[in-house]
Symmetry: C2
Subunit: 486 residues, 2 copies
């Protein structure tokens, strides 16, 4: 297991040597270099290429040995046949870390496997710790290190991720851009020739900037090390893992993807659960969980209060809750009495609370407060909160006559709402989450989903369907339950 202080140097290096940019395979290196520059890396990056004087405006050195001063990290994108020979050079320069982006190692068959063994041995001999080979890179929010193969600019936040699939990993960050999930650190662990998920999990567990850990795992070489680390880590912060290769078909595919790892340790989901790991069953669930866990407090129990602008959505949310093992308790008399003052007299007097076409803001916010402050529930789902369809649909029309404007006046505060102005309901929810320490999910039920806007302005967690909110809430409850059982 590598020391966590050391890994801090990997993720937040002061000086990075970029080896192989503008070489053959190094075309990817140019993209990584471009990403690093574009993101405004806070350290210094030094390209190495014997055939170039400068790359992307940076002075280029003929060899690693020629670079003056200390280097913390080497990123290697040379063709695979040159990677091994780099180790002695990097070792001589006393560079403690190398990210080997280059592929064609153990994932590419027997020859590659042998070459990887040789590479890892040489790195060890030279005192170098390796990320990869066959990695899509790392990302660190603090140092703005976007050493990633694809051109994406992840949002910065508190989620850290390790992924045994480069594509799945970087695309989670890509989804994150739309779903407003910000990342603190990311590593594509590649073939895990040296550093493995165990190291990254241990590091993220102790990293004070990481609030939530997510991971994509196909197999773990050393399960007897992984599980105790996971158990330690899950006490500190939530770990949500998606497991690839759960089935015979999937694990066969995994065997040819991450090679030997997939078969060596039969990951037992029950063991995961015992270690306090939350299992995301789908990729969407993984990113949905990352969003909620990173922004909201863990509910103290499984009782949910639901308020809805549309009766049908309340029914769907109630079904989802029961199917997820969440409770939707009856409303007590005092809350019914309070809501009697807010809604038409034929309101349903039940949970979910159906607002029966009452569309202005006030009853919605007041009911959300009544639910959030009620000690009978641990979380709230507000269906149709942040509802601004009227606004959105209208802004696009030119036939918006004065007469229609007037007839829309009954929509009151909803109508006057401007997309650029604070949304009173969302602002209210945001404040109330902080005040009551209960998660309050907004479900927009429509194309005015607008996570980005919601998030940036209000730090509230929103989903487009109740089922997605409930699924995440179930996982939050599981985690809360696990923690309180310790």
């Amino acid at each position: 297991m590598i020391n966590n202080l050391d890994l801090d140097r990997l993720f937040n290096p002061k000086r990075v040597a970029m080896i192989g940019a503008s070489a053959n395979f190094g075309k990817w290196g140019n993209i990584i270099l471009f990403n690093i520059l574009k993101a405004g890396f806070k350290g210094e990056i030094v390209p190495v290429n014997p055939k170039k004087k400068s790359i992307l405006g940076l002075d280029c050195y003929a060899s690693v040995g020629d670079i003056p001063g200390e280097i913390d990290l080497a990123i290697i994108t040379t063709p695979s046949k040159f990677v091994l020979s780099m180790m002695d050079e990097i070792g001589a320069k006393k560079i403690p870390f190398a990210i080997v982006v280059t592929a064609n190692f153990s994932e590419a068959g027997e020859v590659g496997k042998a070459e990887e063994v040789e590479l890892v041995a040489s790195a060890k001999k030279n005192g170098i710790r390796l990320v990869g080979p066959n990695t899509m890179g790392i990302f660190s929010s603090k140092s703005c290190l976007h050493a990633l193969m694809p051109m994406l600019m992840p949002l910065h936040g508190t989620v850290s991720m390790f992924s045994q699939s480069g594509n799945v990993g970087v695309q989670m960050m890509d989804y994150g851009q739309n779903e407003n999930v910000g990342f603190e650190k990311f590593v594509s662990s590649g073939n895990e020739g040296d550093l493995s998920c165990n190291d990254y999990l241990n590091y993220f567990a102790h990293d004070k900037n990481t609030k939530v850990i997510i991971g994509y795992i196909e197999g773990i070489e050393d399960g007897s090390t992984f599980l105790p680390i996971a158990k330690m880590a899950s006490r500190k912060k939530p770990i949500i893992i998606m497991k690839g290769g759960r089935t015979r078909t999937g694990s066969k595919a995994a065997a040819s993807h991450t090679g030997s790892m997939a078969g060596s340790f039969k990951i037992n989901l029950a063991a995961f659960r015992q270690a306090g790991i939350i299992e995301a069953h789908t990729s969407l669930e993984l990113i949905d969980c990352a969003k909620a866990f990173s922004h909201y407090p863990i509910p103290k129990g499984n009782r949910v209060g639901i308020v809805t602008r549309g009766g049908g959505w309340g029914v769907i949310a109630a079904d989802s809750c029961e199917e997820a093992g969440l409770e939707v308790p009856e409303l007590p008399a005092d809350i019914i009495k309070e809501i009697d003052k807010l809604l038409p007299d034929y309101w349903n007097r039940g949970n979910p609370i159906d607002m029966v076409a009452t569309i202005s803001h006030d009853p919605m916010t007041q009911i959300i407060r009544l639910l959030a402050e009620w000690d009978g529930v641990d979380s709230v789902i507000a269906l149709g909160a942040g509802f601004r369809s009227f606004k959105i649909q209208h802004s696009s029309t030119t036939q918006f006559s004065k007469e229609v404007q007037e007839s829309l006046d009954f929509l009151g505060d909803l109508r006057k709402q401007d997309a650029d102005k604070p949304d009173p309901v969302l602002q209210y929810i945001s404040d109330l989450v902080k005040e009551t320490k209960k998660p309050i999910f907004s479900v927009s039920t429509g194309s005015d989903y607008a996570h980005k806007h919601y998030f940036e302005n209000y730090e509230i967690v929103s989903y487009p369907t109740p089922e997605r909110a409930v699924r995440v809430l179930k996982h939050m409850c599981e985690y809360g339950c696990y923690i309180s059982s310790l």
Copy 2:
């Protein structure tokens, strides 16, 4: 059961009387009127209001009786106390249909229930068939009749929907705008005082413009009529239903939402299945199914060929397939031999086919063709088809130096791709679906999801995650299996 020819008049009326726009509750009427005008209704719309000379530029009549000529449909948005008295007037004018948008009937308690009974009796006496009361309206693509409460402009297409929840229904059309699901007809069935899901289902079954029927149902008054209709309809076209009130908690919520209907007939999902109905378990699944069923042929079996740009996504797709009961068969020697010519020699020689970082278009399209033409599979999932992250991420930067441009040249055709130009892979898939009559799903695995673009230009079905594609494919296979078992 109402005659289908009659219902054609409801959905495609020549002349519509709009009763109660600009009245009290009629503020909603103004929105409906506005929607109808904005959408360019092909018929004529005549507002009725004793207090107005004109509404939204249209001449207004003091009463229904004052309107010259024949009227096919009355849309009523007057306050509930005036609705009953309208029946005699509408009857005298021999208007065959009335959509009662007005609420506060059976959903609002005992008094409302009694008033609804009276209203329905009067309508019957007057020869009027009712939609609602408490409906959010109807939509018809052919006549451009957007008689809907919310301001949304559904995409036109071949999906028809009935919904016992107005909100769930209209928001499905709202999702449809983002997911590129076009609607042929829609009806919010409201309290079903008269016309019910049975009538609409029967009508949609015989409607030649409707290719797929979707529905949201909480309860059915007359199950012994519904099931035979469903059985007849599902032989003609796919029916995908989402059932609200599946659980104790959900059905309690449904009882207060759609009132008596929810409890009167315990919908048995097994009976649904026997009638050939596909059950969507989530709202997302409902719209995802609508998209695939309306655009793609039904696969002949459950065998899936998978090609992926990222190994991990292939693993996830393979897991999903097995969990959904779909088969991912081994590749035969002749296909392996063909792919040997296209991919690096260390490719996995298995299904899913991992393209191992081969990113240009050619191998992807050729492998998709090999799979689609192979008689060993009935459908294809292409993960990372239509991949254009490079393009998208770059268009937003100003630091895009000539040097980076050059170093990106190895991306070849991907780089040169313009968002506004036809995508060669997607065009290829679109043609191949028509040619092979097998569904080929594109999964974009990233924020370049861009359904709209994909759809409008290529008529291909795309999802952002493999799990969503597999879920839909499972339902298509179920339907195909049901049809071939008849």
